[in-house]
């Protein structure tokens, strides 16, 4: 079983398809959720074999506590974008968020969601964080944040590029936020203690490093390590 951060959802689904084609005998299953919760669950005996986190800090912690058997390795770097389903986000900049016609800005929770942390950093760097405070609404995770915007509750949101590339959302343009404004969203994975002896786990870990997988990831807006 794979545990994966929710921003991986669409990309990983496609990778899995490719993997199943390549190894039809392997049984792989994926569960998406927030990285923090999954880390807690793994620490408490969750039956996950590989864990793809949205932030490398979590796998590092697992490794430190002995719940993971491999060193955390970076498999992708995420990007955040401005996205809206009401206006043309590609024409907007972070500074524009202070405009009066934008009443609500949705971000993922900056306390626990990695994308939220980065969004906050970016807004700070752009110098609008303080001013934006009253407009900010928080989503539980990046997917929920996207839904808040999609439902129209928020005018605009900062979401993962990987979600903005998803067909439903891709109808509306997005504005890629300069990755210099925030720390990189290094996404790391580990094989857990439970998965240590499973061939499939290792095989899948290897598969993630292959071109098929990297190509899919890139298509979904992830930057791949070492591809710059």
């Amino acid at each position: 079983t794979i545990a994966a951060a929710s921003d991986l959802r669409f990309a990983l689904d496609e990778i899995l398809e490719a993997y199943r084609e390549a190894y039809p005998d392997d049984r792989v299953r994926v569960t998406y959720g927030s990285s923090g919760r999954m880390t807690t669950q793994i620490l408490n005996g969750a039956p996950y074999d590989i864990f793809f986190s949205a932030d490398i800090a979590y796998p590092k912690r697992l490794y430190a506590e002995g719940a993971a058997v491999t060193e955390p390795s970076v498999y992708a770097i995420g990007r955040i974008v401005l996205w809206s389903n009401r206006m043309d986000a590609s024409e907007l900049t972070l500074e524009d968020l202070t405009r009066d016609d934008i009443r609500r800005v949705a971000i993922a929770s900056p306390t626990h969601a990695p994308y939220g942390v980065r969004a906050k950093e970016a807004l700070k760097a752009a110098g609008v964080w303080e001013e934006l405070q009253p407009k900010i609404v928080n989503g539980d995770n990046i997917a929920q944040t996207a839904r808040m915007v999609q439902a129209g509750g928020a005018d605009i949101g900062i979401i993962a590029l990987s979600l903005a590339e998803f067909p439903d959302l891709a109808e509306h343009p997005h504005h890629l936020i300069d990755d210099a404004l925030h720390e990189p969203l290094t996404q790391g994975f580990v094989i857990t203690r439970r998965g240590a002896d499973k061939d499939t786990a290792h095989r899948f870990a290897g598969f993630m490093g292959r071109d098929t997988a990297r190509e899919i990831m890139q298509r979904y807006g992830f930057e791949m390590p070492g591809s710059e």
Partner: protein, 230 residues
């Protein structure tokens, strides 16, 4: 001592306000519904259907319910857009919004115990009060209310406690805006997800103590006024 940050205090304030308002609003709304369900006119089929309907908010996962409410109350939804066309604000991500969400979500907890209490009462006390010259409202206040106090207590405490703990609907609909829609449960959740268990434990503990105290006092008072029924 629990030393709490200003965010914590704000969350506590919002939580209390939300729980209190929700409970009060629920009692006001649920009482006539429950009365009608228990004693009302109209075909029993219709009443049964309404009774089942009232329980439905429980069935959906809170975030899903929250999503539907967000669509409904947001600027694009029927309620939100109507409000906007009147020059008012839509309700998504506002305190009023999460209040509506809480009320809807906790409605069954208020209606069902009340309905049961009303049904159990029988018609004799009402008849007695009527024969002594008490009109409908008078009867309700001086006879039905005190005699079904137990049902009201159950309804109020379930609604109150449930609102304290509710977070799925509120998260979706409220967006965790400090001082406005960020309630304690969301804050605790937030801390827990961020693996900041210290803060989570501290707040949870405080919340539990507080809830326990409130419930204990309410139940103790209720017990004191207990009348034995023959």
């Amino acid at each position: 001592m629990l030393d709490l940050s200003p965010t914590d205090w704000m969350a506590i304030e919002v939580t209390l306000k939300l729980a209190l308002y929700t409970t009060l609003i629920l009692l006001v709304i649920a009482t006539p519904i429950a009365w009608w369900l228990a004693n009302g006119r109209g075909s029993p089929g219709v009443r049964t259907a309404v009774q089942a309907l009232v329980a439905l908010p429980l069935v959906l996962p809170p975030t899903v319910l929250g999503f539907y409410l967000l669509v409904l109350l947001g600027p694009a939804g029927p309620v939100g857009s109507t409000l906007e066309s009147w020059g008012l604000n839509h309700l998504a991500f506002t305190f009023q919004g999460i209040l509506i969400g809480s009320v809807i979500y906790s409605l069954p907890f208020a209606v069902q115990p009340l309905q049961q209490a009303f049904a159990n009462l029988g018609r004799r006390p009402v008849e007695i009060a009527g024969s002594l010259g008490a009109g409908r409202i008078d009867r309700f206040v001086t006879v039905i209310l005190p005699m079904t106090r137990g049902g009201f207590i159950v309804a109020a405490t379930l609604a109150f406690a449930h609102t304290l703990g509710e977070f799925g609907v509120i998260l979706m609909l409220g967006g965790a805006i400090p001082g406005e829609t960020q309630v304690l449960s969301i804050l605790i959740y937030d801390h827990a997800e961020a693996m900041d268990f210290d803060s989570a434990h501290r707040l949870s503990f405080g919340l539990l103590i507080f809830a326990f105290a409130v419930l204990f006092i309410v139940y103790a008072i209720n017990r004191r006024f207990d009348t034995v029924r023959l």
